[in-house]
């Protein structure tokens, strides 16, 4: 929070600056004041006129939420038999989508926590909605393992340790239980982090709202925040500590998710590279989703002053780096399979590339490895429409990656007599598409009712916010 934007530190001699400092686009457009930042961001929420585009987007997303409702109702009525899963592929779309959504969430925590600790001031204008994205993605992810149990209300006793009438307790040596703890902790800490960040902004909305309902609701949520210096001090301490706690947490979550696979002996799953490879993939897909959301949002709400080309370029660079790590993961996976001299392991990459799911595998390589290489070029990184398309392709690629890992590993394990095929049914697709609708609907509600950019943090980016040098000696 206290970091100062490097781009605003104007050197004394401009000629020296040109010679030594590369020029970056600023993290906030020049000319903004404390007042203009407050008014611009809060007016999006406090306006009485809801934009027509918002209604169209929200209602479209809400229509898809209803698809999810129908799919879930029918599922609870009939059971998981309505999906394409069967032995040997018991983990179809449910787990593919779970891993995909959880991975998307990871970029939000990375932006809000890790980039905060690294004093990357450019994170400030994107962290709030990236955190919201995390929350909604985790909400979508959480649905899948729950409904995959078929009768969730009967499954609680092995998910959570609580004294039940059967005197049965969870099996703590199972990575599936680790997953329950990792994901529920992640959801809780993400919500806390998000809410703490919102408190000063809720106070701003309380003070600026014209309607009584607005003042009462935002007032209750702000809990009486008054911007006292002593409060700010503890607030900043708490925020930094949360960032420090969330950083190892986010790495642990996808590590534990990868353990769901790596602890099993199935060829293609049983590999030690999974934790780092999953974490890199999570950040890759998450940044792709942040770009997918940020590009239309900044255009529609006219936020180009706050989400500048600097942000888009930096995110493209993070995508390029994590994409290369993921590509390296694919290569290592194949190399280690060959090096193991285990015929079942060697068969896995061969089967992925030439077997019945070869189409998925090569689409994944195209989407995740080949196409993102265009991000090496600055012309691409500064071309917003192309960047948007690349981000969509990476989102697709990362979904395909999880499909390939889950399905191709299970469909050909040790005994040919146990081999099988998997194809999703209409209900698999309806549930998946339904969660995309849920994600978007929640995001639309967030954009309408809460400030999508941290007002208090953006203020620290404005030159006016700084205390004169000669006073700092006090």
């Amino acid at each position: 929070m206290a970091e100062r934007p490097q781009s605003l530190d104007v050197p004394a001699d401009p000629n020296v600056a040109i010679a030594t400092v590369p020029t970056y686009p600023p993290v906030i457009a020049p000319g903004h004041t404390l007042g203009s930042v407050t008014d611009k961001i809060s007016s999006i929420v406090l306006t009485k006129k809801t934009p027509a585009g918002w209604w169209i987007g929200f209602l479209a997303a809400f229509a898809i939420v209803n698809v999810l409702m129908v799919a879930l109702t029918y599922l609870l009525f009939k059971g998981v038999g309505i999906w394409g899963i069967n032995i040997p592929i018991g983990w179809g779309f449910a787990i593919v989508n779970f891993v995909w959504w959880i991975g998307i969430g990871h970029a939000g925590t990375l932006i809000s926590a890790i980039l905060l600790l690294l004093k990357q001031s450019w994170r400030t204008s994107i962290n709030r909605f990236a955190e919201a994205m995390t929350l909604f993605a985790v909400a979508c992810a959480g649905i899948f393992p729950l409904i995959h149990t078929g009768r969730p209300w009967l499954a609680i006793y092995w998910l959570f340790p609580y004294p039940n009438t059967m005197n049965i307790w969870p099996q703590f040596r199972s990575p599936l239980i680790w997953d329950v703890f990792a994901v529920s902790t992640y959801a809780t800490v993400s919500a806390l982090f998000w809410f703490v960040g919102l408190i000063p902004d809720l106070a701003t909305l309380r003070d600026r709202s014209q309607s009584r309902t607005g003042r009462v609701v935002y007032g209750m949520l702000a809990m009486g925040w008054r911007g006292s210096a002593a409060h700010w001090h503890r607030y900043e301490t708490a925020y930094l500590l949360l960032a420090g706690l969330a950083t190892p947490l986010v790495v642990s979550v996808h590590t534990v998710v990868s353990f769901d696979f790596a602890i099993a002996i199935v060829p293609g799953w049983h590999t030690t590279i999974f934790p780092p490879y999953f974490v890199a993939g999570a950040i890759y897909s998450g940044f792709a989703m942040v770009l997918t959301l940020a590009i239309p949002i900044r255009a529609i709400y006219g936020l180009e002053d706050f989400i500048t080309m600097r942000h888009l370029q930096n995110m493209a660079k993070v995508m390029l780096v994590t994409g290369l790590i993921v590509a390296y993961g694919y290569a290592t996976e194949a190399f280690v399979a060959w090096y193991s001299a285990d015929k079942f392991e060697i068969f896995v990459p061969f089967n992925r590339a030439t077997g019945p799911y070869a189409f998925s595998y090569w689409s994944l390589i195209l989407c995740n490895v080949l196409i993102p290489q265009v991000l090496w070029f600055k012309k691409v990184r500064t071309n917003v429409p192309v960047l948007f398309v690349v981000s969509l392709i990476v989102n697709t690629g990362m979904w395909l990656e999880r499909f390939v890992i889950v399905v191709t590993s299970l469909h050909r394990d040790f005994l040919p007599s146990a081999w099988g095929m998997y194809s999703p049914t209409i209900w698999d697709w309806a549930t998946f598409v339904g969660t995309i609708g849920l994600f978007l609907a929640l995001l639309f509600l967030f954009l309408r009712f809460l400030p999508m950019i941290s007002i208090a943090e953006m203020k620290t980016m404005v030159p006016e916010s700084r205390v004169d040098e000669d006073l700092r000696v006090i």
Binding site: M1, A2, T33, L34, G35, T38, P161, N167, W169, P170, Q171, F172, R173, S174, P175, W178, F181, A182, T185, T188, V189, L192, F193, F195, V196, P200, A203, T204, D207, R208, M223, G224, R226, G227, S228, A229, A230, H231, W232, H233, Y235, E236, T237, A238, L241, L242, L245, A246, L249, S252, F259, A456, K459, T460, E464, S465, V467, D468, L471, I474
Partner: protein, 180 residues
């Protein structure tokens, strides 16, 4: 408190920029005032130095919270797996502690994070539905672009006229009386 007017919480000076607030806070501390608070729309590091609000118990509380979460999470798994419901899983010992590390870690983080947030709110005295500073109409700008310094009547040095004169010397935009 009793010698002063009971219906006044304090005197509040409004400033237009952070430098003026930090300077005013430092001058007020030098003048011997102890019951004073400054309000700003965003955190100002220099203000903490000026007001000597640099130490907080919060990190220690978070450490304790994390340790409790760690011990609780590990203890729960030990009790469940070795005492309450011992099940032979793949021939592993009942007390198979390496398998307990992920859940122990998550419980540590969860308890520490909850302590950080609830501790911050508790030490700040939040939620607090009513506070006298909100009686000043212009205080609504404290969350936008204005900076305020409030000296409370509870301060031993507080005197309505003298303190007002002192605040006027700090070149504020205006000085207002805060009703209690």
């Amino acid at each position: 408190m009793s010698s002063k007017k009971p219906d006044i919480y304090g005197l509040m000076a409004e400033f237009e920029d952070p430098t003026a607030l930090v300077a005013a806070a430092a001058r007020a501390r030098e003048a011997g005032f102890t019951r004073l608070d400054a309000f700003s729309p965003y955190p100002i590091e220099e203000l903490h130095h000026a007001l000597h609000t640099e130490s907080t118990k919060l990190p220690a509380l978070v450490l304790i919270g994390g340790l409790i979460g760690c011990a609780g999470g590990f203890g729960l798994q030990y009790w469940v797996s070795a005492i309450a419901y011992p099940v032979n899983v793949g021939g592993k010992p009942y007390f198979s502690w390496p398998a307990f590390i992920p859940v122990t870690f998550e419980c540590t983080i969860l308890a520490a994070a909850l302590t950080a947030v609830l501790g911050m709110l508790a030490l700040n005295g939040l939620p607090q539905p009513y506070h006298p500073v909100f009686n000043v109409p212009r205080f609504a700008l404290a969350s936008r672009n204005r900076f305020f310094l409030c000296i409370e009547t509870a301060d031993p040095k507080f005197d309505l006229d003298e303190t007002r004169k002192f605040l006027e010397t700090l070149e504020p935009r205006e000085v207002t009386t805060v009703a209690d």
